[in-house]
Amino acid sequence: MTDDNTSTDLSRRALLRATTAAGVLGTGVAMGRLGGENNHDTPAQLADPNEPRAYEEFTVHRVPEAYATIQDAVDAASPRDLVLVGPGRYHEEVTVSETQRLTIRGTDRNEVMLDGEGTRHNGITVTVDGVVIENLTVMNYTYNGVYWTGVDGYRGSHVTAANNGEYGIYAFDSVNGLFEHSYAAGHPDSGFYIGQCNPCHARIEQVTAERNGLGYSGTNAGGDLVIRDSVWKRNMGGIVPNTLDSEKLAPQAATRIENNEVHSNNNLNAPAKAFAYAAYGIGIGIAGGHDNEVHNNTVSNHANYGIAAIPMFDATIWQPAGNLIEGNRVEESGRTDLALGSPNDGGNRFENNSVSSTRPSWLDSDGVLASVFGSTGDPWVTLSQGLLYLQTELGAFPHGDWLGGPDPPKQPSMDDPERPPREAVGPRRDQ
């Protein structure tokens, strides 16, 4: 979840080993430092930004007509230019580290492919502001498909990411962004990821994630961060905002998850890392997050829990707090439709959801037990998912491989690939 994926995994493994085991024994609270304080003041959603404005002056750099490689075109480009890539399979890594507000666009989403061949690290890495990636496919890289880090302004539109070794479409330590009309499949960490930002001022919408470890993962990310109108299916786990000590800005807080279709995230053949396996069979899981809003989603066919708020065992035990789960339709869950784990830091509200079962029993009800126990959680929820994580520490766990996964299905291309490039995101209305 950082640049150095390997070291992060190792440190996380070391940190979690003891606390997870302790959690299984029911003594985790006594052994770990409890984390609960909020560090954010931006709500989960502000008004959407204005539409991105088209650039008036720009140059089109055509690949392969004028440049042999995409990187050559990028190196020759100026801010606001358009690198327009024709059909073909490009065996290269592209880095955008100098030219702000550049657009890299394929002429045909399904025919323009960057292929890492299982040996190159990142398909496209962006470290400058305002860069847009559009209408192409990125696959078979050992780390990430498309990767923005430390930027202000980013957008991935009509991007297909498939069978990369970590994440599909990934923004880290970045703000003011948008992932839209994109597809991610076959990633062991997650198909879509936004991490370490608060406020993020970002949107994920009209995307599909399937056959990933997690459909969405968002470590320590929130604050005007909205995930909506998207499909999350057949991953190991669905949408999982989460808190970890290994990244700054913990705890994760204030993400709005709205109007998504989330189903059948029980895929034991999906490539998955340990953290993803721990979320097996959960549609929407808030792992140690605060003040998130889960609203009006349709969640169905999960082996464990439809929507769950559970503590996150790291060096700190991050407890979910202040989350609002409201107006969702949850059905066909193997264990229960709604779940609140223990320990939690209170203030978690489950209201007006259409469900048939909950853990504990008083969630989403106005009965006597609800008035007595309030937002007391159920350790069973923590135990059931904690055992999955513990298994990853003790031995093999079921999962598929990222390399060699099926080719992604054809996806709709953008309407007019020749149109002028536009800003990554429009001006915010709250400024």
């Binding site: 299984v24 059948s264 029980n266 034991l268 229960t336 048939s356 059931s384």
Partner: protein, 153 residues
């Protein structure tokens, strides 16, 4: 001794075979309350562990009835406690099995092809050992109480 051939004798014999109601022993009411508490505890625990199967309330009712019945049938406060501890330890020992069963039940219900590796794993074995130790501790407490009680008598 009653004569079994007479109705009164048969009644006496039948009565003698019934469990001794705690209310007729020393400390009657407090022992009965203890039986109810242990029975309800057993019922609550049963309902908690089987909630994944959507039988929370039936499990509570049946578990409580069985638990109260078994405890109430004990003649002394001590045996009520030991029985309560024994039945609780049995439920705790079964917890990992029910936990894994809930996962399998849910997975098969949602069409997961082969969920067995999620249930039968090293973590499951470790959990079984941990819960087994907790159960043994509680049962051991019961046994100790039982033993001391026998010594006193």
């Amino acid at each position: 001794m009653s004569d079994d051939s007479t109705p009164a004798g048969l009644t006496d014999r039948f009565r003698s075979q019934l469990p001794s109601p705690t209310t007729t022993t020393e400390n009657g009411y407090s022992t009965a309350i203890l039986a109810v508490v242990f029975g309800l505890l057993f019922g609550v625990y049963c309902s908690w562990i089987v909630a994944d199967f959507s039988v929370r309330w039936p499990a509570f009712a049946i578990g409580s009835l069985i638990g109260i019945g078994r405890c109430y049938a004990q003649p002394t406060r001590t045996t009520v406690i030991t029985t309560g501890l024994y039945q609780l330890s049995a439920a705790i020992a079964l917890t990992p099995l029910v936990l894994a069963g809930g996962g399998l039940y849910g997975a098969y219900a949602q069409g997961v092809a082969n969920p067995w590796p999620t249930a039968l794993s090293e973590a499951f074995l470790l959990a079984s050992i941990c819960f087994g130790l907790i159960a043994a501790l509680i049962a051991g407490g019961g046994a100790l109480l039982d033993h001391r009680s026998s010594d006193v008598e």
